[in-house]
């Protein structure tokens, strides 16, 4: 009950809460506080969740503030300084310089922008689409279920990378096609997740009660069932942020993603492989950046799973 009222707070508006301080039951307010406090307490005592959240926040801040905090913002573009090429990591260049003398740290921070943008756009499309389809398939059943779930099975059979290869032959490879192709495949995972939960909830009493009372389908789907999917969805989305970034990096590593001179992490790794093993930092540094972002989202997702006590549903 407590979480429910917390969640509906912004939607219901602050007015009813602000107006009657007298009529509010004395124990109601502390109870709410303690529920929020409890969540925060459990979260803050979970070291992996805190580390994960810290990594994610730092990465996002660094990406947003990139022009202000990077030492050589001009190195993002096609700058060439051959005197400074292949400098090893030092105080001036924490991650060294690349084959045309650009500061790798600067480019890595800007590369994070692209990676995070990719993750947000792909999941921004895939999560709502997958959720809607999963809700529909799980709740309505019948042919809706058959069509949607068979579609997800087919989409699951297409290797994302290989589909992108096909798309990239028709269009020229760039960041947008990467986003489109990943989003076109990623919704299946969310559809499967929401479908599984909805199937379980459909026959539960609070849903049946709402049906008996004549609640609209819209109300049942979005007010009764969806709120129960939120925690599982949050965990899955956090984990997926990491995996989208990993997949996107693999794609651009193959030359199918963002094109140079855009500072994409996967592209930078690929560019650096020509100079291995002597100038290893050109590949390893951006690769490690991908690892750190993915690690952050993974730890955060695991922490959220512990926090919400979400069971793994495949």
């Amino acid at each position: 009950m407590a979480t429910r009222s917390l969640r509906e707070e912004p939607a219901a508006g602050a007015a009813p809460d602000a107006e009657p301080p007298v009529t509010t039951l004395p124990e109601a307010e502390p109870e709410r506080l303690s529920a929020a406090y409890q969540s925060w307490y459990r979260f803050s005592r979970n070291p992996t969740a805190v580390i994960g959240a810290a990594i994610v926040v730092i990465c996002i801040l660094a990406a947003v503030l990139a022009p202000l905090i990077t030492p050589y913002p001009s190195h993002v573009g096609a700058v060439v300084d051959f005197r400074a090429r292949h400098l090893p990591p030092s105080w001036e260049h924490w991650m060294g310089t690349d084959n045309v003398g650009r500061d790798i740290l600067t480019r890595v921070v800007y590369g994070m922008r692209i990676s995070l943008l990719l993750a947000f756009v792909v999941l921004g499309v895939a999560v709502p689409v997958g959720t809607l389809l999963g809700l529909a398939a799980g709740y309505f059943g019948g042919w809706v279920e058959v069509v949607i779930m068979r579609l997800t099975d087919i989409a699951l059979a297409i290797p994302g990378l290989v589909l992108l290869m096909a798309v990239a032959t028709v269009f020229s490879p760039n960041l947008l096609t990467t986003m489109l192709a990943l989003a076109a495949l990623w919704w299946t995972w969310h559809a499967r997740l929401i479908y599984a939960i909805t199937r379980q909830l459909r026959s539960q009493e609070f849903v049946e009660a709402a049906e008996t009372l004549g609640a609209s389908t819209f109300h049942i789907l979005f007010r009764e069932i969806l709120p129960n999917c939120v925690s599982a969805l949050a965990v899955k989305t956090s984990l997926d942020c990491g995996f989208v970034i990993l997949t996107g990096a693999a794609l651009s590593f193959l030359g199918l993603g963002a094109q140079p001179p855009m500072p994409d992490l996967g592209t930078m790794v690929a560019g650096g492989t020509n100079y291995l093993p002597d100038y290893w930092w050109g590949s390893v540094m951006p690769g490690c950046a991908v690892l750190v972002i993915a690690l952050g989202f993974n730890l955060l997702g695991d922490g959220l799973r512990d926090l919400f006590d979400v069971q793994e549903i495949r």
Binding site: A157, G266, V284, N298
Partner: protein, 340 residues
Amino acid sequence: MEYLVFLVRRLLWSLLVLFGLSVVIFVIARGMPGDPARMALGPTASADQVAQLRETMGLDLPLVTQYVRYLGGLAQGDLGRSLLTGRSVSADISDTFAATFELVLATILIAFVVGLPLGVMAAQWKDRWPDNSIRLFALLSAVTPTFLLALLLQILAGYVLHVLPTTGRLPIGAGFSADITGLVTVDALLKGNWAILGEGLRHLILPAFALAAASVGQVALTTRASMIDVTSQDYVEAARAFGVPERVRVLKYMLRPALVAPMTILGLSFASLIGNAFVVELIFAWPGMASYGVRTILQKDLNAVMGVVMVSGAFFVMVNLAIDVATGLIDPRVRLGGRS
């Protein structure tokens, strides 16, 4: 009998997925804006040349007719002609597929041979140091980009320690042709050529482990979770009460019901494994489908790319069919339809 019904059902389902896949690929290739013939020939070609190519490619026919033709070709294993090599795409792919297959097979083998014992150990020593280190490993293997791991392995084992070869399937000029199964290691074994078998394995180790790391972690974690789940079941307690030794309880009573989950997971994530296989192939210059695929993309060779996509999808379907067959054998609940 039930098993046969189960197999036929899974087989029909696989065919349906393949059919759906062919539609998706066709739509992407033909339904998108742009003229495949113009793309193939480039902007400098004359209108006549383009029209001629359109005709030979059958692009002037209605879309449905084109699709029926495409599907008919697929059924006979005909993927069309590659504009890049001038040969039939199926011949090109069958030349390169064996190498990819060998790499993926080795990866699946490693995932289970290493991942299962790790998962069992983690479950047995839950929350103690073996469990914690295995979970840490699984986490790191899940978040490490495959290309980073492949590069690090290549640098470390190849360039720093000089213990393993960093590129190819065999040393240059080894003069061995894998003409029985197409798999170097298996053919060397069949022919009793131990030197080549050793070389083949040495070349296989780095790419296979780079590709397998994530799957090893995944298999270990899933096995751990389902083993822990099974531990609290009454039937394990009953076996204990009747004096079945612990070794038998863990390896028979618990492991077998726990096997289905990691196999299913591996099947589901096989699509991303194929994607990563392409990355690994490029880094280790492994002569598989990846280099062919990437080359044909750059040349806008649509038939070849469609072929690679179709074969990859079919590979996924086949592996999942094999996993269905195996899980059906292992767990009667799967084949008797107790759960899907």
